[in-house]
Structure formats: structure tokens, C-alpha cells
């Protein structure tokens, strides 16, 4: 069975890039979200194996989403994918339960490797 | 200040932020406004006009170009008109602008604040607003003709308006 991924980013182009990379790496992209609140709702609905989460989003941002997701599922595997690399924000994200961080603009191979480390492919 | 002559020998002057420009029947003033207000006063009998490009609602006693603030622009416009022999009574006002071009989280909805401040200052000066095109989220290119007091407003994706 494929590993299941939720992609949360307000940028359609980023969601597209991550989706293409993930599909070619054997993930099933089960859903997308374009703001923080939508990310929480979709997580609850879909129970993915992992989430890629942008920080700067309209309406409700990535930290809001992270708190909401971790509150629902303390074992959630959330990979923050953001152009914002401020120490304070990243510390808050890790403290809130983010599993790892990839900076934008990202190398697709590096994103794939990081996702694989979060949720190894058991080949089933 | 940039003034050009159009093909019909009308002088067209661009009114930059904080500026006030006056003129007679062979003159047009132009301004591009977003959150700013282009305010034009016209004397219909004398065919003289004056336009201010107002940037902020209230000077709060701060120094600065008089055209920059709603509360200082209108008194200054009336002073300049007086120097040209245009009386303060019988004037009409037209205004355009006061848009909110992009959302920001601050309390300062500057477009709306500018619109209200200009309306208030005109009321205090006893000048009637004849027409206005304000608010929204689009920029406006405003052309004011001193010959007949007409104000033409062009905005992206909208039909041209004539006030």
C-alpha cells in the first residue's frame, strides 16, 4: 500500500511540484490544503501518513495548522516546507511537534529523501 | 511637475502625491490614485479648476506639503483659488480614489480614512460634493478638465466613468 501524503501550501505551483515529486516516488497524494485551517480539517478527514506544511499562508498560517494537527494526532509526521527560515519561528515549529524542515526553494531529491526518512517505504 | 500639451493644445499636468495644481479652461490635471484621493474643485462660471492629490487624512499639526493631508489641502486650495480671483462660494467638488489596494493587518484602512476626511473637510468648508467614485480595490487614472469640470476615471477592467 502507498504511503499517503497531504500537501498544505497556499501556492498552487508548490503543491503541483510536491505532488509530481511525491507521485513519482511512490506516494499517494490524498489531499491538498491552501491555508492553515483547511490543513487541520483535511488532516482530520484523511489521516495521512505525512503532511508537508508551508508556514506563510493566508487566513490561518502554518503554525496554527501545526498546533491543530498535533492536538488531533500527537504522532503526526509534519514536514515544514517554507521559505521563512527565522530561528524563532523554526524553534516554535519544532516545539509544536514538526518532525523536520525543508527550506524553499527546495531540491526535489532532498525533499523526497526527507519524506522517506519520516515515513520509510516498506515496499508493501 | 510634468506638463504636456495634448493634440488639442490643452495643457495636461500630472499631479503627484501631495501636490495641488490650479488652472483655467485650457488645462487638464491628471493623477493616478490608489488609496489617495484626487479632489477637484471647479467654479462653473469662471471655468477655473484646482486639483489636489491627497495622501493622508489628517496632518495632526505636522508640517508637510499642504496638499498631502485632507485637513490642510482644502484650505490651501481655497487660498490658491482666491489668489486667482475665484471666490469660495459656488464651487463644486468631485473626488475619486480611496481604494484599499491590498489587505494588510493594520488598523489603518487608509483609503476609507482618506475618503471620510475629505468629505468632512469639504463639509466644514461648505463645499458640495457633486459626484464621487471612491472605495473598492482598484487604482484609478483621473483626468480633470478645468474647461467644464468634468472628471474622467479609468480603472482596470471597468468601463470609463465620467463624473
Amino acid at each position: 500500500m502507498s504511503r499517503r501524503l497531504l500537501i498544505a501550501d497556499d501556492a498552487l505551483i508548490i503543491r503541483q511540484i510536491i505532488k509530481d515529486m511525491a507521485n513519482s516516488a511512490g506516494w499517494e497524494v490524498v489531499g491538498e490544503a491552501s491555508n492553515g485551517q483547511e490543513a487541520i480539517e483535511r488532516y482530520r478527514e484523511l489521516h495521512p501518513d505525512a503532511v508537508t506544511l508551508d508556514l506563510v499562508m493566508p487566513e490561518h498560517d502554518g503554525l496554527h495548522a501545526l498546533h491543530g494537527i498535533m492536538e488531533f494526532d500527537s504522532e503526526a509526521k509534519v514536514l515544514v516546507v517554507s521559505a521563512l527560515e527565522q530561528r524563532g519561528v523554526l524553534k516554535d515549529a519544532i516545539k509544536a511537534g514538526a518532525a523536520d524542515f525543508v527550506a524553499k526553494p527546495f531540491d526535489k531529491q532532498w525533499l523526497k529523501t526527507t519524506l522517506d526518512q519520516l515515513v520509510p517505504d516498506n515496499g508493501t | 511637475m510634468i506638463t504636456t500639451t495634448t493634440s488639442s493644445k490643452t495643457l495636461e499636468t500630472m499631479v503627484g502625491m501631495g501636490q495641488i495644481v490650479s488652472g483655467g479652461s485650457s488645462q487638464q490635471m491628471k493623477a493616478i490614485v490608489g488609496s489617495c484621493i484626487a479632489l477637484a474643485l471647479h467654479h462653473p462660471r469662471l471655468n477655473k479648476g484646482i486639483m489636489a492629490h491627497i495622501v493622508l487624512p489628517n496632518s495632526a499639526g505636522r508640517p508637510g506639503a499642504p496638499g498631502k493631508f485632507a485637513d490642510t489641502a482644502i484650505p490651501r486650495m481655497l487660498e490658491l483659488f482666491k489668489e486667482l480671483g475665484v471666490p469660495a462660494h459656488g464651487l463644486t467638488a468631485k473626488l475619486a480614489g480611496g481604494a484599499n489596494m491590498f489587505a494588510n493587518s493594520g488598523p489603518l484602512q487608509i483609503g476609507d480614512a482618506n475618503t471620510h476626511a475629505v468629505a468632512q473637510a469639504l463639509r466644514s468648508a461648505g463645499i458640495r460634493i457633486m459626484a464621487q467614485d471612491v472605495g473598492g480595490t482598484r487604482g484609478r487614472r483621473v483626468t480633470f478638465d478645468c474647461a467644464d469640470g468634468e472628471m474622467i476615471i479609468e480603472s482596470a477592467g471597468q468601463p470609463t466613468k465620467t463624473l
Binding site: I13, Q86, V89 | R62, G106, G111, G139, A156
Partner: protein, 205 residues
């Protein structure tokens, strides 16, 4: 006759150095985003009289395609990335790996490509300035706007215009393989952010 205020000149020179350093980081990010094609350089940090902003930046009368990001909170500002229609479409096409769009309305994907460019560039500056001043800055999500350039700039200039008739602007240029592109970024810091940047310049290392 303009009297030269030496303190002011020094302050501008300091900000120039600071933004040049931040631009170096922004250029690296743009280069990665565009697969090595586009780089960024600092043109100038300068003071422009309020009434001359449109003419000085040569954005008076044209419709432009813009991406706007704001910095929210006490240390604020706006960054406006500006293109004419053709240059904007070309960038979107190159990021999407497709032909240049010709439909009158931009597709959601084209808009997204430009907005994400603004996001990456804006966050690169935010990251660099945060390291320099030691305080987190809070960028907004980008907005895509097609309108008269000066009408968008007006709102960005408001907080500076409240306290001054002369506005501080930071202008940034773009290059493709050494050739200058007709895109621009204008960064407009609020007076509070300017002060914070000046303090960081004078702080002991």
C-alpha cells in the same frame, strides 16, 4: 541649493550596505528557484520626494503585474515585485516549463508562479534582515495585483508618508545570464523598521 546632511548620507550608505548583504542571500534564493537563470542585485537605497515617487520609479501611468508582500506588526514594510505583462508571463512560463500564456486572463497556475516568486524573494530578505536585527519579522502571504503601479505603491508608502515628505526606497534589479531584465522590486520599510535597521548598524559586533 541642497545642503548635504552628512549624517543622513552616512545613514543611507549604511542601509545600502545592509540591503546589499540581504540582496546577496535573495539572489542565491532566486537562482535556486529559477534553476540558475535569474540573479538579483541592489540598485540603490535612496530618498525620493513624495510627489516624485511615480516619475522617479518610472511607474506613473502604466498597468503592471505585481506581487505584493507586507511585513505585519511593529517592524513593518512592503515589498512590491513589478513586471510588465510580457515579462511577467515569461517568468511564469519558464517556472512552469510551458509556453508563454496568451489568454487575456492569467491562469491560477501562472498567478501562483509569480506569487511564489514573490514569496521566495520576500522571505529571503526577511530571513537576512531578521539575522541582522535579531528580531523576527512577519511576512504576509503574497498578493497578486494587476493595476497602475503607482496606485499600489501609494498604500505601501503610507506609514512613511505620515512622518515624512521624503520616502526611503530600496530598489532591486534582476538579471538573466548577465543581461538586465525589466522587472523591479521596491522595498519600502516603515519608519520603525528603518530605525531598527539603523540601530543594528551601530550595534557593537
Amino acid at each position: 541649493m541642497i545642503e548635504i546632511d552628512t549624517d543622513h548620507v552616512k545613514a543611507l550608505a549604511g542601509l545600502q550596505e545592509l540591503f546589499a548583504s540581504a540582496t546577496h542571500d535573495a539572489s542565491a534564493a532566486m537562482c535556486r528557484w529559477t534553476d540558475g537563470i535569474i540573479t538579483v542585485t541592489l540598485d540603490e537605497v535612496r530618498q525620493v520626494p513624495l510627489e516624485e515617487v511615480g516619475t522617479e520609479l518610472a511607474v506613473g501611468d502604466e498597468m503592471l503585474t505585481m506581487v505584493v508582500m507586507t511585513l505585519d506588526g511593529g517592524l513593518g514594510g512592503s515589498m512590491i515585485l513589478m513586471f510588465d505583462e510580457l515579462n511577467g508571463r515569461q517568468l511564469a512560463a519558464s517556472l512552469l516549463g510551458q509556453a508563454v500564456g496568451t489568454a487575456p486572463a492569467w491562469s491560477e497556475l501562472e498567478r501562483s508562479a509569480l506569487m511564489e516568486t514573490g514569496n521566495i524573494l520576500g522571505c529571503a530578505y526577511v530571513n537576512a534582515l531578521t539575522r541582522l536585527i535579531g528580531t523576527d519579522l512577519h511576512p504576509s502571504a503574497p498578493h497578486f495585483i494587476q493595476d497602475f503601479g503607482i496606485s499600489v505603491l501609494q498604500q505601501a508608502l503610507m506609514t512613511q508618508a505620515v512622518v515624512s515628505d521624503s520616502l526611503l526606497l530600496c530598489e532591486i534589479g534582476f538579471h538573466r545570464q548577465g543581461k538586465r531584465l525589466d522587472w523591479r522590486v521596491v522595498f519600502v520599510p516603515t519608519p520603525e523598521l528603518q530605525e531598527s535597521l539603523q540601530r543594528s548598524l551601530h550595534a557593537a559586533p
